[in-house]
């Protein structure tokens, strides 16, 4: 089992109606891609934002990640839209 602290920002925070949550996932959910699949399976806005061709970014412990990045136990995983600062 892995405990993950999830954070959502900007448009995704509004779509999901929450800024953070803690999830406990079975060990077979090992990568960022697995987590995204799990979240998209919730349906509704989750599937719409994470399960379609919409673009989003994921950071693991505050470093930009890819679908292959492993999920560290007790990790901070942030999901957010492409950035628009500057």
């Amino acid at each position: 089992m892995r405990t993950l602290n999830l954070l959502y920002f900007a448009r995704l925070r509004e779509s999901f109606g929450r800024e953070k949550e803690t999830v406990v996932l079975p060990a077979q959910y090992a990568t960022v891609g697995d987590l995204v699949t799990y979240l998209a399976s919730r349906g509704g806005e989750w599937e719409n934002e994470l399960g379609s061709d919409k673009v989003f970014r994921v950071a693991v412990n505050q470093v930009l990640a890819t679908a292959d990045t492993p999920l560290p136990d007790q990790g901070e995983i942030a999901i957010f839209p492409p950035v628009t600062g500057g």
Binding site: F9, Q62, P82, V83, T84, G85, G86
Partner: protein, 156 residues
């Protein structure tokens, strides 16, 4: 480059003063021959519609480390005396200052290039998001532009 580069990062609601920032950098560096500054502002129109305010959201913690990493990367590519990055967050009105990048070097070429590199990197990698509130109509999140990714790709 082997020389030590002074790196200053600030993420804050507070406004900044260009001249004060530049003076502080120059006092902390030796043999500075060039300073290049970029300031980004809130445009008073967005897609042709008058803007009431802009909200800048960020990811506390990652923002600072991302900006630090960007400044480090610049200091490895060019010979730099100092890099100063200030980015504002929260609600900003039309014509407000959003971002300041100042680069100090011995010669102008390094400072010009590094300043543009830092901005291109920041626009696509630092976790900030803009929400625009027009005078009339619904607020909306600004969409990322492909041209910004293309601008960063030039450096690699």
């Amino acid at each position: 480059m082997t020389e030590q580069t002074l790196i200053r990062i600030r993420v804050s609601e507070a406004d900044f003063d260009l001249q004060e920032e530049q003076q502080a950098l120059l006092e902390l560096t030796a043999e500075a021959g060039a300073v290049v500054s970029f300031t980004g502002y809130v445009r008073e129109f967005s897609s042709g519609a008058p803007l009431e305010t802009m909200l800048l959201e960020h990811y506390p913690g990652m923002t600072e480390s991302a900006l630090e990493m960007i400044a480090q990367e610049a200091s490895q590519r060019w010979s730099l005396k100092a890099v100063n990055i200030i980015h504002r967050i929260g609600r900003l009105g039309p014509k407000a200052r959003i971002v300041l990048v100042q680069v100090v070097s011995r010669h102008r070429g390094d400072a010009f290039s590094a300043c543009e590199f830092v901005m291109d990197y920041l626009k696509t990698r630092a976790p900030f998001w803009k929400k625009e509130f027009p005078l009339e109509g619904q607020p909306y999140w600004v969409e990322a532009k492909e041209t910004d990714e293309a601008a960063l790709a030039r450096w690699f």
